[in-house]
Structures are given as structure tokens and as C-alpha cells.
């Protein structure tokens, strides 16, 4: 990894380019080469294509076994869970995130300064599980964006079959160039999509840009652990672990929760809060692994493509990453001032 002299930390997150680069894991942003932000030696276009193809290929299989929520479940600390509890846990994840961000419901509207969501954007919407859930919960209108045309089409079809096509709609678009005018949404939702985004600064910039005054921004994402005072970077074995995960899941780079907080602080947002929910998601990957080894799982994988199989093979590394406290399942929220 190229080390550069001290520079303004913001520029680290602002630069991105098409150079071939070593895998970059953001750590102490001041001393790392911003040009490596894209990571994996690929241009941004190749990354986007990889992400789109990965999800085009694997979404159907995921949905077949796990349903329409493509995110971690939220479990009680130390609980043992059966396979049927996971869907409830995934719904609980949404509710816990809303609760953490103090998003008011209709009953609470007079006691809260935040807006009740009427217009929601789901950034990295998958097949629209969160979008449809949030639209139903708040009676709100929701726009979802995804890089995957297959996902957008499936999301629309599910909305139609659930009688929600007047409330939710999906576009193929990039989180780094959201196709919306400024200040459109009361709730800006990013559930496990930030990992795919190469330029975290631009990602956060877009989330803040499309948020209306008084709105709430919620990011649930995979981060790496915080670095100690004396540390410039993660340990080599940690980087190696995350590299392999990056390769399989088309993740350009990782940062820490503190990095996200720092980015948000550079915008005029208030009430920035973050939490480490790693212990609440512990049962998830073991369950996914288990589901891959069922008859249904194995036959689906064999029928799927190389990208999906590679993704499945890397699951034990996610488990290892969590167990060894390299990966942190993180929630970050803030409010855009009125």
C-alpha cells in the first residue's frame, strides 16, 4: 500500500479514479493513498458491473431460500435461533434501526422534532424488502435504487403482487450519483449497501444531499474495527481476510464507524449516533451457511453461476471476521437540520 505524506483527510475520501490499485483498506485516512480508494485493481465501471452481475445472478437464489430481505437479522444476545426465526429477525433489524434513529411514528409526531417519513429513498434497495416494509409501515412513498436491473424488475413485480405498486418504485441508479433533486426525502435509508460504494465521502454527500430538512439518515453497514491510537492501519492478516471478502462480494474498500462519523461531521448534520451491533447479528452467517448446505441450497448453488458460488465459499470468512472482531456490524444515524 502506498503511503503518502500528511494530507487533508477529506481529500482521501474525495478522490477516486481508474488506476489499477492494490486492495485498499481505509484505515488512518491521513496517511493512505486516496487514489487507492477504488481498490481491487479495477476501475469503478468494472466494480459496478461486477456488483450488478453478482446480484443479477444471485438474487433469485437468495430470495428462494431467504425471502425478500437481503440483510442481517437482529437477534437477542446469545440466543439460539431456528431457521424460521430469521425472517422475523430481519424485520426486527429494520425496526431496531428506525428505533435507534428515533424516527417518529404517527403517534409520536407531536413529541418529536423529526419528520414522519412520507417520502423515503432506499439506497441499494435489493429486491425491495425494506422499501415495501417501510412504505407499508408509514403509508409512505418509497423510491429504491439498485445497480442490478434484475433486482429492480423483481422489486417492482413484488410490489405489484403485494398491492404496493402505487407506493414504491425502483430505478437502476448509482448511490454515488443519485438521480434525484436535492432534499426530496424524509427518510434516507441505506441498509447494507454502503459496503459496495467506493467513495465513502461522495456516498455520504449524496445521502445528505437528497435528504430534506428535518429528515433522518440511517446507514447500516459493515465496517472494520476501530484502529488503536498507535495504529496506522489494520494488521496484515486482517487486511488479507477482508481482501478475500472484498473479492467475492465486490466490495471496494472498508472503513471504520469512526470514519463514517468523521465524514458526517464534515456536513452540517446533527445528532450523529453510531453503535456496534456485531453481537446482535452473530447467528446470521452460520444460518446462511447452514442454508447453503441444505438440499435446496446446494442444488440452487450448483445451478447458479460462479459469482454466487464464490460468494457462498467466502461465508466462513465473514464468520471469522466477526468472531475475531475485525468486522463490525454498524448502524449510523443523523438528522438533517430544519
Amino acid at each position: 500500500m502506498v503511503v503518502q505524506p500528511q494530507r487533508d483527510w477529506l481529500s482521501f475520501y474525495q478522490e477516486e479514479d481508474d488506476h489499477s490499485a492494490m486492495v485498499h483498506l481505509s484505515s488512518n485516512s491521513i496517511t493512505t493513498d486516496a487514489d487507492n480508494d477504488v481498490g481491487l485493481g479495477r476501475s469503478r465501471l468494472v466494480l459496478k458491473k461486477g456488483i450488478a452481475e453478482f446480484y443479477d445472478e444471485s438474487s433469485g437464489i437468495w430470495e428462494n431460500i431467504w425471502g425478500d430481505h437481503m440483510h442481517h437479522g437482529f437477534y437477542d444476545d446469545g440466543s439460539s435461533v431456528s431457521l424460521s426465526d430469521h425472517r422475523l429477525a430481519q424485520i426486527r433489524m429494520i425496526e431496531e434501526a428506525l428505533s435507534f434513529a428515533s424516527v417518529p411514528s404517527e403517534e409520536e409526531k407531536n413529541t418529536s422534532t423529526a419528520k414522519i417519513p412520507r417520502r423515503i429513498v432506499d439506497v441499494g434497495c435489493g429486491i425491495g424488502g425494506s422499501s415495501r416494509y417501510l412504505a407499508r409501515k408509514y403509508g409512505a412513498e418509497c423510491q429504491g435504487i439498485t445497480l442490478s436491473p434484475v433486482q429492480a424488475e423483481r422489486a417492482n413485480a413484488l410490489a405489484l403482487s403485494q398491492g404496493l405498486s402505487d407506493k414504491v418504485s425502483f430505478q437502476v441508479a448509482d448511490a454515488l450519483e443519485q438521480p434525484f433533486s436535492d432534499g426530496q426525502f424524509d427518510l434516507v435509508w441505506s441498509m447494507e449497501s454502503g459496503e459496495h460504494v467506493p467513495n465513502k465521502m461522495k456516498f455520504v454527500n449524496e445521502l445528505v444531499r437528497v435528504a430534506a430538512p428535518g429528515s433522518t439518515i440511517i446507514i447500516v453497514t459493515w465496517c472494520h474495527r476501530e484502529l488503536a491510537e498507535a495504529e496506522d492501519t489494520l494488521q496484515p492478516w486482517e487486511k488479507e481476510l477482508l481482501d478475500k471478502i472484498c473479492q467475492a462480494y465486490f466490495l471496494p474498500s472498508w472503513c471504520s464507524a469512526a470514519d463514517y462519523v468523521k465524514l458526517l461531521q464534515s456536513f452540517s448534520v446533527e445528532d450523529i449516533r453510531t453503535a456496534d451491533w456485531t453481537r446482535y447479528v452473530a447467528p446470521f452467517w452460520p444460518a446462511v451457511l447452514q442454508s447453503a448446505f441444505t438440499w435446496k441450497g446446494l442444488t440452487s448453488l450448483l445451478r447458479s453461476g460462479f459469482k454466487t458460488i464464490k460468494g457462498a465459499l467466502v461465508m466462513p470468512l465473514m464468520i471469522e471476521g466477526y468472531k475475531k472482531s475485525v468486522i463490525k456490524f454498524t448502524v449510523i444515524t443523523c438528522r438533517k437540520p430544519k
Binding site: R44, I145, P149, S169, Q171, V172, E177, P179
Partner: protein
């Protein structure tokens, strides 16, 4: 894609300052009935760019919206019906959204707009 969505979309190609509203090339338009929701329409009325909606509806073949509108018109069921129809029941299935400044076309396929930018537009 409904006009509710269209009213929020803009062209974010680098350097474009006037990317809204996108001009509609309506190759295939479908009308899909939807239940009218008074509260929803009232909320949306204040958020919608009215001129953009009127022009977009015309390009989809619907010219029954008044050229300008004010909140008091929400009390008229006739107005609500027209507003509802334009906003929620007209669907662009095939066609394109065109940037008013650059002419860049964003294709709409099976009702899904593809707003991805090319490398040189970012």
C-alpha cells in the same frame, strides 16, 4: 414509471446545472388504475413541481390538468381525480427520459428508468 417518480428525477451528469425536469419520450404508456388516497395527494401536492407534472402528463397523452394549481383546488374532487390520474395512474413503460440541458437519454425499459451515468459523465 409514474409521474410521481418523474417529478423527483433529475440528470446529474457532471457540469449540468439544469437537469430538471427530464423530457419524456413516451414510446409506450400504460394506464393502471390506482386507489385514490386524499391524504397522500394533499401531502404530495406541496412537494410536486406542478409545471413539470403538467408538461410530463401532456407528453404522456393527458392534457386535463390545469396549467397552474393552488392548494384550495384540493377541495374539488374533480381536481383530485385529475391530479391522481396524472401522478399515479399514467405509467411510462418504454421510452426515455431526456436531459433538458444536454439531450442525454436515460432509457426506460419495462417501466424501470436506468439512470446510471457513463464514466465520462461523472
Amino acid at each position: 414509471m409514474r409521474l410521481l417518480t418523474h417529478n423527483m428525477l433529475s440528470c446529474n451528469v457532471k457540469g449540468v446545472t439544469n437537469g430538471f425536469p427530464l423530457i419524456i419520450q413516451a414510446d409506450k404508456v400504460l394506464e393502471k388504475p390506482a386507489e385514490l388516497n386524499h391524504d397522500f395527494l394533499r401531502n404530495m401536492f406541496y412537494k410536486v413541481d406542478w409545471k413539470a407534472l403538467v408538461d410530463a402528463a401532456k407528453s404522456m397523452g393527458y392534457s386535463e390538468l390545469p396549467e397552474s394549481a393552488e392548494a384550495s383546488m384540493l377541495e374539488s374532487l374533480d381536481f383530485l381525480n385529475r391530479f391522481h390520474h396524472a401522478l399515479m395512474e399514467l405509467h411510462l413503460e418504454e421510452g426515455a427520459l431526456i436531459c433538458p440541458e444536454t439531450g442525454r437519454k436515460f432509457p426506460v425499459d419495462k417501466g424501470i428508468p436506468n439512470m446510471l451515468l457513463h464514466e465520462d459523465e461523472v
